[in-house]
């Protein structure tokens, strides 16, 4: 209803009628008679831009699916020509136009579903009006997905700017559409001139709006396979914790139109898919309180050398993982699991409209100074949208830290394909009773690990956390 009101400024008329049988005049089934009756009621208003409605193809039809657009945007239509194939609850039918004109904007893409009577496209009378129609289509934020495929290559966000705007400016890292992240050269691609991707990878890339040229293939001879595309789509918006943390700035109430329905962006779609996928993994959580006085002291001492807390935590985690390889393992198929050969710590970073997880590779083997430099480099690259896929999708263990917001404890969702993720809370001065019966103040932080119980069991996590707490409470190993 809201949608109808919103679009009512358009002089509208029904300008489509179903063509039951594009090839002959023979069949006139009941559905057709009904739709003909329906079609006679429309079409009196003289207008320059007309809405094309989802027609009622049968008496029981409430919504229809767009099977395919016979015409594409900008194409000239003659009265009586087939424009779109619609699937009703009973059959598929070609639907033809009542008017001459140009198909200005498709509002419901192929595969999309629209209620009977809702607008699925706009018809402009002259070529000059196509632009006007398009902007109207964009403004009318219809229930369907995207409006202009023309910009699909770079913009992953079909929503009008006014809705999405303000968070971007204050976000720590600018939005990084996956497509732009990398420009890997394919070993089997004629020096980069040609992209070799498997048929399903190509299909997925189109669906997830991922640019194949930007992905490094992991298949035979370096070809891009489906999982590379999935990884690329999922990597930028890494599925960590709640994405609500995206606005660290003192954001005033976001300037969104309340009560509107906003379709997912590509990134949100990818997060959504990943979140649902994570439900198929049986996870459990183990928490631990770690005293950080020694770590804080160490941090203070070497901060001037460019060492960051993130690097310290990553290093400590990596050293603990080296002693507990099962926590660094991953189970993908449900039948076997892999002890990952390297310890790659992915660290979740909030960015506009999502998250990205730059990866500190071989964190157990690098010294703390190069690890800190690497981290800085990764963050810079992420800002410049130049992260290579292997720099954000090769993590074997994920860290998510919300301590800077004062969050003392939280719970993270396990990214599919990895074995465990650790949620790190703020380190806070805490009154602690000691064994000799006295009370003292110590800095303590709570960590909470979510793990895949198919491969990592409670005792594994407990032992890992004990090792980690020992490393953090006596951090001398971190600087070697």
């Amino acid at each position: 209803m809201a949608h109808l009101l919103q679009t009512s400024f358009l002089p509208s008329s029904q300008c489509l009628r179903p063509n039951p049988d594009r090839s002959s005049s023979s069949t006139s089934s009941p559905m057709v008679q009904i739709s003909r009756r329906w079609s006679k009621t429309g079409g009196a208003v003289q207008a320059k831009i007309r809405e094309i409605f989802m027609p009622a193809l049968s008496s029981t039809m409430t919504e229809g699916k767009i099977v395919s657009w016979v015409k594409s945007e900008g194409e000239k239509l003659a009265k009586g020509e087939s424009v779109v194939v619609v699937e009703s609850d009973k059959a598929d039918m070609d639907v033809e136009t009542f008017y001459d004109g140009y198909l200005a904007a498709i509002m419901v893409e192929e595969g999309g579903v629209a209620a009977v009577g809702s607008a699925i496209a706009l018809l402009a009378e002259t070529e000059d009006e196509i632009e006007a129609a398009r902007s109207k289509a964009a403004g009318s934020s219809s229930s369907a997905a995207s409006s202009s495929p023309a910009t699909a290559s770079t913009s992953a966000d079909p929503i009008p700017a006014e809705i999405a705007a303000p968070i971007a400016a204050s976000a720590p890292i600018a939005a990084a559409p996956v497509a732009k992240l990398a420009s890997a050269v394919h070993p089997a691609s004629d020096g980069g001139k040609r992209v070799v991707a498997s048929p399903y990878a190509k299909k997925l890339a189109k669906e997830l709006k991922v640019e194949l040229a930007a992905i490094a293939g992991s298949g035979p001879l370096g070809r891009i396979v489906a999982k590379d595309v999935e990884a690329a789509a999922a990597a930028a918006p890494a599925p960590v914790a709640a994405a609500t943390t995206a606005a660290p700035a003192p954001a005033a109430a976001p300037n969104v139109e309340l009560g509107t329905v906003v379709p997912f962006t590509t990134m949100q779609g990818a997060v959504s898919r990943n979140m649902l996928e994570s439900l198929s993994v049986p996870t459990f959580r183990v928490g631990y309180t770690i005293t950080t006085d020694a770590l804080d002291a160490l941090y203070k001492k070497i901060k001037s050398k460019g060492v960051t807390m993130t690097a310290l935590l990553a290093k400590a985690t990596a050293l603990a993982l080296a002693k507990h390889p099962v926590v660094n393992s991953s189970c993908r198929d449900g039948n076997s699991f892999t002890y990952n050969s390297s310890i790659n710590i992915a660290v979740a970073v909030a960015i506009d409209g999502g998250l990205i997880t730059p990866v500190l590779q071989d964190a157990d083997k690098s010294d703390i100074y190069s690890l800190s430099r690497k981290w800085k480099e990764l963050v810079d690259k992420a800002r410049a949208k130049q992260l290579q896929p292997h720099e954000y999708n090769t993590g074997t263990f994920t860290l998510s830290n919300l301590g800077m917001f004062g969050v003392d404890r939280f719970d993270a969702i396990l990214p599919p394909g990895t074995g465990a993720i650790m949620a790190v809370g703020a380190s806070q001065p805490t009154a602690v009773g000691t064994k000799d019966g006295r009370i003292g103040i110590k800095n303590q932080m709570q960590v909470n690990v979510t793990a895949d119980h198919r491969v990592i069991y409670g005792a594994d996590l407990a032992a890992f956390l004990q090792t980690l707490s020992k490393i953090i409470e006596d951090p001398k190993d971190l600087t070697f």
């Binding site: 023979s26 069949t27 099977v67 609850d89 070799v196 498997s198 048929p199 001879l221």
Partner: protein, 572 residues
């Protein structure tokens, strides 16, 4: 004489080999050949008479007739050399595929003394390298598809944990099926008293056939039914491992991650169904501008939407594969594509395997056609509408027929069989012309595609030429109760007909069990039944056959109901 007889009876398999030995060591070959010849015939005689006794209770008159003929031919053959006045057999069929088998069975039923010559294995392409093993693979792929379709299963309330398969098990199923059907075929012919002569057959002259190296058999009539082999275009190197034809693919020796299928006809389509169900990704290479040429365009479009677009398949149309190199030394299979029209190089594909499904070529080499002055056309043996072979002067070759893929009229197993039966009908005194428009065809994808008669463009062309009106009726599987119960509502049935007299011109079905549904339409065409009469026929409810019921009922025929305006059937 007596010695050689007993030898050949006890060890029939050794005949061709031992005679070969004789030929090289004995300076006068004519005599041993005759000896051998006798022995072979004698063995055949003993075999057929022995096995025909149990049958004689019900077919006594025929078996008497046959034994008369046999004794006559026995007497004649002893003294004959070049111009046989009496024959070893009434009918010899060269090639024991489905076509030859169908002809042989019908010939025996009509009382003809029949022999069938097979140089390879009984059953031919269909049973050993075609329809039969591919159905086994497709049965597997259909089930895999169902088990993998979580959405579909959930809609039915089913829960199935991850489905997997064992490649060797699947391959064995296909192989076992072929072996079993081959056995059935062999036994059915043996039981009826058809002599199976082993060795390559060639036409030596009028009414004379050479079997193997030097066995000559005479027959009153000869049917050539040698079938076809996969057609491999120039520039394509088939290594049987990574670049394969359907012959290799049916053995399912490996399931590649990515396979290119050259040709998107029914062979390519069926294999794409198998491979994608088993986890492969598929790239089609099609020379024509559209996938699935040969199908009714509307059915093709729908099939593409269901069988291609949602699956892990992409395609290149309007391109020729000029060069295909098998995988070697860690390099993938490379396929060079050129534009079909401009002939300019377009692209090079690198895949794990390539299946060549560009059609089939007749297997007519070495048939001795030059002995009877017959020239093949692109390998096919020219025949008239009664399958009588035409020689290079355009004259009919007496007593020589050709059926099945070798004549290229309609390259389908059941068409070959129907042609064979038609020939036997003629030989036994009943003129018969097979109506090819009544022969159905099916593609066993999931869901299946089936068709009979003309496509819509063909029908419209014919209508224009002959000046009649064409109409089209369609029904959807979405409206069929049984289809919906199976949760398989995707599908379309299409009827192309003449509204003036109710004649069916073509029926095309895409949907669940389409291959089984087509026969109501093909029988109607074969028997000349009109739509106005079919409308009154009753179909059980709820069944998929109601799709056709509704299809016939939705047709608008102007002819007076109840009377057949054209009483004559289209073909008998």
């Amino acid at each position: 004489m007596q010695a050689s007889l007993s030898l050949s009876v006890s060890n029939p398999a050794a005949i061709p080999r031992s005679s070969h030995g004789f030929e090289s060591s004995i300076p006068f070959p004519s005599k041993p050949v005759n000896l051998r010849f006798c022995g072979l015939r004698r063995e055949a005689l003993g075999f057929s008479s022995a096995s025909s006794y149990p049958l004689s209770t019900s077919r006594s008159s025929r078996s008497i007739a046959r034994s008369n003929k046999v004794s006559a031919s026995l007497g004649g053959a002893n003294g004959s050399s070049s111009a046989p006045k009496s024959f070893d057999y009434d009918l010899i069929i060269i090639g024991a595929g489905v076509g030859g088998h169908g002809a042989a069975l019908h010939a025996v039923e009509k009382g003809l003394k029949t022999a069938i010559v097979e140089g390879d294995v009984v059953g031919g392409t269909c049973v050993n390298r075609g329809c039969v093993p591919s159905k086994a693979l497709l049965a597997v792929s259909g089930r895999m598809r169902e088990l993998q379709n979580e959405h579909h299963l959930k809609a039915l309330g089913l829960q199935v944990s991850a489905a997997g398969y064992d490649r060797q098990g699947v391959a064995d199923h296909a192989n076992n099926l072929a072996t079993k059907i081959r056995g059935n075929l062999t036994n059915s012919m043996k039981a009826l008293g058809v002599d199976i002569l082993t060795g390559f057959g060639a036409v030596l002259g009028p009414q004379k056939v050479k079997v193997g190296k030097d066995t000559v058999v005479t027959a009153k009539d000869i049917i050539i039914a040698t079938g076809s082999v996969p057609f491999v275009p120039k520039g394509i190197e088939v290594d049987g491992k990574t670049v394969i034809t359907s012959d290799h693919a049916l053995k399912l020796e490996f399931v590649p991650d990515w396979i290119a299928i050259v040709g998107s006809g029914y062979i390519g389509l069926e294999f794409s169904d198998v491979y994608t169900a088993l986890g492969s990704e598929v790239t089609f290479v099609e020379a024509l501008d559209q996938l699935m040429p040969g199908f009714d365009p509307e059915i093709g479009k729908l099939a593409q939407r269901v069988l291609i677009n949602p699956r892990k398949i992409d395609y290149h149309t309007g391109v020729f594969a000029t060069k295909i190199t098998p995988a070697n030394n860690g390099k993938p299979v490379t396929i060079e594509l050129i534009d079909a029209k401009t002939k300019e190089p377009k692209e090079t594909l690198e895949v794990d395997a390539a299946l060549i499904a560009t059609g089939r070529a007749p297997f007519t080499n070495g048939l001795g056609l030059e002995n009877i002055n017959v020239a093949t056309q692109r390998g096919f043996i020219p025949v008239d509408e009664r399958m009588r072979v035409i020689d290079s002067n355009g004259d009919l070759v007496p007593h020589l027929f050709c059926i099945g893929d070798a004549n290229g009229k309609m390259m389908l197993a059941h068409a070959a069989s129907a042609q064979g039966i038609s020939v036997v009908e003629q030989l036994t005194g009943r003129d018969h012309v097979l109506n090819h428009l009544s022969i159905p065809a099916a593609c066993f994808t999931h869901p299946e595609i089936s068709m009979v008669g003309l496509t819509e463009p063909q029908a419209r062309e014919k209508a224009e030429l002959e000046g009649f009106e064409v109409a089209v009726a369609k029904t959807s599987f979405k409206a069929n109760t049984k289809a919906l119960a199976e949760n398989e509502g995707e599908g379309l049935a299409k009827l192309i007909y003449r509204p003036d007299n109710g004649e069916i011109l073509g029926v095309h079905i895409f949907g669940l069990h389409a291959a089984d549904l087509i026969h109501e339409a093909s029988n109607a065409i074969a028997l000349g039944t009109r739509i106005q009469d079919l409308k009154l026929a009753v179909h059980a409810h709820p069944t998929l056959s109601e799709v056709l019921d509704e299809l016939f009922k939705s047709a608008k025929v102007n002819a007076h109901v109840g009377s057949s305006p054209v009483a004559e059937p289209v073909a008998v």
